[in-house]
Structures are given as C-alpha cells and as structure tokens.
Amino acid sequence: MIINALITLHHFDQLEKPVATRLHSLGLTEGSTILLLQRYPFHGPVIIESNHQRIALRYRIFSILTQPPRGKFHGNRTDW
C-alpha cells in the first residue's frame, strides 16, 4: 500500500466490538477516508491521518479495514 495514499475504511463489522467502538470514538467510521502516513516493517503498526489527527493502529486492524469492499474493486486503492 502506498504511503500518502487516500484510503476508504470498510468492514468495521469484522472487528472486535471494543476495537470498532474505540475507532468510532476517534471519528473513524464506515466509509471514512484516511491518509496512510507511515508503515512499519514486519507488519508493525501503521500511522494514519484523519481529520487532522494522527492515529497508530495495529497492522491487523488496518488490514481488515482496508480490504476491498465486498464484491467490487475500490477506486482509491492502487495495490490490490
């Protein structure tokens, strides 16, 4: 996934409830567009930016949220 790419988040329903709730509280919801700022090697955490705030997420959470939407290719993504 390309750094500085705009990515739309999906699949909040696939996350554990507390994780999804915390993301909601941080203003991240289904369909939110975020900017990918940083990725760490070996599937380490990722830093994203949304509404002027930087948030670090575990790679697993990030990869669930950025899977292509069910049944169609997502326009903003370039590396699937």
Binding site: R22, G27, G44, P45, Q53, I61
Partner: protein, 659 residues
C-alpha cells in the same frame, strides 16, 4: 459546590485543572495520564474541581474509563466543565452530546484553540451554544489564554439547563419513550435521568447495564435482547454523528493546511520513521538511563548514602553514646532507623531524575510514539508497546519501572507489566554479579553477566505468555493510539508531575522499605541469647542454617550464603555486604577466595540465576502493593519468583553436573 472536568484524552484537561486549582494533578501529553480522579480547590473559592480520567465516550472500554460513568451516577456534580480539543472538535462532541443528554449544568470549553487556528478552523460559538443549549467558552490552557473568563464563569452560580434531546430514529425513540415512562412510573426515576439511563442502556454501556441489573430495572432488562438485535447502539451513534456534522457545517471552515505539513509531522518523520524510529528511541532512552543511573541520579544517591551512613550516622552514634544510650538502642537508631530512612532516601535522586525525564517525554508527546515504535515486539508476548517502557526502566531500578507502568492504560496489561518488571535485572544486582563472576568466571565476566540479563528477559517472556494465557488477553488490548501534536514541555508541569510521583513513592513504598530495614536489623542484631554484636550468632544466621538443606539441590547450601540471600530481600545491594560479614571477610578479595572454596562454577551460575530471580526487594514489593492496590499480587510476585528461581537454579545445577 463540585465541578467535574470531563473530556477526551489529550484535550489539555489536566493542564487546565492545574491552572485553575491551587493543588495539582499529574499531567501528560499522552492518553491515560489521569488514571484516578483527582480533586483540587478552585483558586480563591470553596469549590471542588474534580479531574476525571480522559474518556472518548461514556460507554467504557477499560476499567479506568468506568470511573467517569460511575462518578456521574454516584455524584451528580453541580456543574460539568466539558473540555474539548478544538482541533478535533467533531469527535470530541460525541462525548459532549452524551454529557448534555445527562442534563446537569454544563460549560463547553473549546481548548487548544491554537491548534484549531493552525488548521484554519473557526467556529461560530453562538450557533454552537444554541445548538447544544449550554454556554461555550474558548481557552488555550498551555498559554493560559481565556482562563480568566472561564474562571469567572465557573465561579458564577450554575444555571439549570434542560437536557439535550436529540431525535433518534423512530424505533429507537419509541423504545426510549416506553422505557422512560416505565422507569418514571414504576421506579420513580426522574424523567430526564430515566431517558438518559435508557439511552445508555441501549448504547451497551456496561456500567449502566450492571446498575440496571443491580436495581432490577425490568423495563430495560426485558428489552435488552431486542435493543441489541436491532443494533440500537449503531443508530444512536449515527444520529449523534449526523447532529454534530450539521452543527459544525456552518461554523467550521475548510482547513487551510493539512496535518502532514505541520511541524509535528516533520518531527514524526524522524522520530517514528520505519527505520530511524528504533535508533531514535534507543538513543533517547540511553540518554535517560545515563542521566538517571550514571550522570545525575546515582552520584547524588551515592553522595546521600555516604552522608547518611558516614557523618550523620557517626554523629548520631556519638551523641547517643554521650547521652548514655544502651548499645541495643544505639544500634536500633543507627543501624535500624537511620539505615531505614537512608534506604528510602537513596532511591530518591534516581527516581526524581527518571520521573523528570519521563514527564518531559509525556508532556512533549513523545511517549505515545515510543509505545508505537515498540509495539511490534511487545505484540509477541500479548502486550502492547506501552508496556515496553516500564520494563526497560526496570533494568535501572525495578521500583521506578513499576511506577512507570502507570502509563499502561489497560488494567490487565498494567498488572502483567508490573509483575514482569522484577525479572528485569536491576542495577542493584550488578555488584553481587561482579563478585561471583570475578570468583568463578574471571575470563568470561561480561559474557556471563550478559547471559544473566538475557535469562531475566527470557523468563519475563515466558511469564508474559503464561499471564496471556491466564488472563485470556486478546487483540482487544490492541494498539490504537492517538498521536498528539508535539508540544514544547512546560517546566511547571514537569516539576509538578515529577514531585507528585516522587511524593507518592516516599509516602507509600517508603513505609515498606523502612519497616523492612528495621526487620532485617532486628534479625541480624538479635539471637537466641538476646542482643548480639556478632551477626553470625543472630536469628538471621540461625534462619540461614535452618533453611540451608533446602538449597542443597541448587548447589549452594552454605548457611552464610543463604543468610546473605535473606538480607538481599531488603535490597539486592546488601547481599555482598552480608556475605562479607557472614564469611568474616575483611575485603572483597578475601571473600572471592572464600567463595571459590565453597562452590563449583555450575553452582555459582545457579546462584547468579537465583539472585536474579528469587524475590523482588522490599522496595519493589512495596511498590507492587501500592500500584496494584493488592497484597495478593505482592505475595504472588514474591512466591512465584521464588518458585521460578528455585526451579531455574535447580535445573542449572543439575545441567552443570551433566556437562
């Protein structure tokens, strides 16, 4: 009158609290700094200001977050000051709506206005106030802008406000009305509170659900499955979000700059870069270690120790002799009480230095990044990056490491971190390592000592896996961390934070160290014949002789060594001194010679491992009790480490016979 400060983490709430009150609370640019509520007196008034932990919503995810909901239910403050980060107003208002629905008088404070201005955001305060039905003020707590006006508002008598009533989707509204009516009619709950309780119940607020079950509020309990099946919590969230977007649509202008171009982002490119992040982290913590244990802390600690055990002790002894005090009394004062006070005080310079450095990292915003950089490694043992810092500090001193575990948000992760920290080989164990490796492994000293450090890490990793299994810690403790903007640290905040934490150490852990010192003094000064001047005739020596056979499987069953290990529970530094007394050695060379006659190299390595693992010192035990609030966990730490040490040392000794 009581005013409660409620807000998201990183909104400058505690800075505001420190500015508004005469007393202070710990502050940090790092989520979870206010772990427990702190109270202060509003300057020049008799009003209490309560600083509650930062929460994103009233629906708690962690035990710390429950504090806010429980506080609202139990205390019902006269006024709520809702502090928000103006730069992140949209998500901050989610909590604001919940608090406004609660219905107590409230003032909304848009704090950190400088950040909002940098982002090119402006707000129509009048429109915001009208939409939310409460007064709105703006402040910048770090530069103290707007505080006078806020203080005036807080001192005025709070005006009653009608609770905010959002229009939820029809099915939610219908369920709300039914539940509210039933609670009002059958349980005599006031209508506004009944509506709020019902809403929170539908929103899966576990504190409210427990309270409803406890009070047997049937109208809610009966409908629980229906609420959850229809995903009322999602509908509630979406309604609130839509309301916020609507009220912000007018006042908020499109941002002029993107965060990616800010100074914070440029700092982050260096400090949290994928390849430079780790070296930067190592450099920063290396500097902190050097400051605390090499350049500032230890020299001051040594100086203080020399002063207390030298001139002060000699003078006190001299005056007691002149006053005609009996030898046991003199010994109690000089070797017991004074040594006890010294045992507490000598830790203080290191602790103050370390806490000051941590406070700078917290206030500047780096601490959140440190957790991020270490997260991948900690993920392997079921913890997140925040747990790494206390463990690292534990290599310097376990006491300070455990105190630093306060920064870990999740209670379970904090507990596990606290229990793992004693396995980190603290600097106090180094003198006895040096002694033993000089006696048995003169040509491989550094390698042997290093292997002991790694043994500690290995045991900690295994223990972490065990705790992970025991607590069933899963990805719910996963790292989701807000990275706040960097700030230039404010010295008054650093000082307050450092002093507050150090004072806590002195008050609580100090009492255990003091009591422990006096106990060891008693054990080494008294024997079956009464007061003894020769420690080899003391109860401690007797205890060593009695328990020596138990240590036979470990390869070191000499009562002198066992007695020294007993005294080592007081503080690991004491082991060397105790061995010298017990072996009648006049200096270390004599002691090294004596030891090499008694032990084989295999048994010596087993002894090294045993010293690493066998029991946290009194100070560490006291701190574990203080931080976990439980004697049970303190005892568990003592017993489990003793068992592990016995097992590991036994295996090493057994292995050495085969080699």
């Amino acid at each position: 009158m009581e005013i409660a400060l409620i807000g998201n983490p990183n909104t400058g709430k505690t800075t505001l609290f420190n500015n508004l009150t005469d007393s202070y609370a710990t502050v940090g640019n790092w989520p979870g700094v206010t772990v427990n509520p702190k109270a202060g007196r509003l300057k020049g008034t008799a009003t209490d200001l309560i600083d509650l932990p930062g929460v994103y919503a009233l629906t708690p995810l962690t035990k710390d977050e429950e504090v806010v909901t429980l506080y609202l239910l139990d205390h019902c403050p006269d006024l709520i000051l809702n502090v928000t980060n103006a730069g992140q107003l949209k998500r901050n208002l989610l909590l604001t709506l919940e608090v406004r629905e609660f219905g107590q008088p409230m003032i909304l404070d848009l704090n950190m206005m400088d950040e909002a201005a940098q982002q090119g955001q402006h707000f129509d305060l009048a429109a915001l106030s009208q939409a939310l039905g409460c007064p709105v003020v703006t402040t910048n707590a770090r530069t103290r802008r707007g505080l006078a006006q806020l203080q005036a508002q807080l001192q005025a008598h709070p005006q009653p406000l009608a609770p905010l009533k959002l229009t939820y989707p029809p099915q939610v509204e219908q369920a709300l009305q039914q539940a509210t009516q039933a609670l009002t009619n059958d349980y005599h709950v006031p209508a506004p509170l009944a509506r709020w309780l019902s809403l929170q119940y539908m929103n899966q607020n576990q504190v409210v659900r427990r309270a409803a079950a406890f009070r047997n509020l049937q109208p809610l309990l009966e409908q629980r499955a229906t609420y959850d099946a229809q995903h009322f919590e999602e509908q509630i969230f979406n309604t609130r979000l839509a309301f916020i977007e609507k009220i912000l649509a007018h006042g908020q202008q499109a941002p002029a700059t993107r965060a990616a171009t800010t100074v914070s982002h440029r700092f982050d490119q260096l400090l949290t870069g994928p390849w430079l992040g780790l070296p930067c982290f190592i450099l920063i913590f290396w500097l902190i270690f050097k400051l605390a244990f090499d350049w500032v802390g230890t020299p001051l600690s040594d100086g203080l120790d020399a002063l207390l055990s030298g001139p002060v002790a000699a003078n006190v002894n001299h005056w007691l002799t002149l006053l005609g005090a009996l030898p046991p009394l003199r010994s109690l004062v000089v070797n017991g009480l004074l040594a006890g006070v010294g045992g507490v005080l000598v830790f203080l310079p290191q602790i103050i230095t370390l806490f000051a450095c941590i406070a700078i990292l917290e206030d500047s915003g780096y601490m959140a990044r440190a957790a991020l950089v270490m997260d991948r490694l900690m993920q392997i043992i079921g913890l997140n990056g925040k747990a790494f810092i206390p463990l690292l500090i534990g290599f310097g001193c376990n006491v300070t490491g455990i105190m630093a575990a306060r920064t870990v948000e999740q209670p379970q992760a904090r507990l596990v971190t606290t229990l793992l920290t004693p396995f980190m080989s603290c600097s106090a164990r180094l003198p006895v390592y040096s002694l033993i490796v000089a006696a048995f492994f003169p040509h491989h000293q550094a390698a042997v000592v290093l292997s002991i450090y790694f043994l500690g890490i290995g045991i900690a990793l295994l223990a972490a896996k065990g705790y992970q299994w025991y607590f069933h810690t899963t990805e719910s403790a996963a790292l989701i961390i807000e990275l706040p903007n960097y700030h230039r640290p404010r010295w008054d905040i650093i000082w307050h934070s450092t002093w507050d934490k150090s004072k806590g150490f002195l008050h609580k852990a100090g009492t255990v160290i003091f009591a422990g010192t006096v106990l060891i003094w008693a054990l080494t000064s008294f024997g079956p014949t009464g007061f003894v001047t020769d420690p080899t005739q003391s109860f401690a020596a007797g205890l060593g002789k009695l328990s020596a056979p138990c240590f036979a499987p470990l390869g070191f069953d000499h009562w002198q060594i066992i007695t020294a290990l007993f005294t080592g529970i007081l503080a690991k530094e004491v082991i060397t001194a105790s061995m010298m007394v017990m072996f009648h050695a006049t200096n270390q060379t004599v002691l090294i010679g004596a030891l090499s006659n008694y032990l084989t190299p295999g048994a010596a390595y087993a002894l090294l491992a045993f010293i690493l693992l066998y029991a946290p010192c009194f100070a560490t035990l006291g701190t574990i009790k203080q931080e976990t609030g439980s004697t049970k966990w303190m005892l568990w730490s003592l017993v489990s480490s003793l068992a592990i040490a016995y097992l590991v040392a036994g295996l090493i000794n057994l292995g050495s016979h085969w080699l």
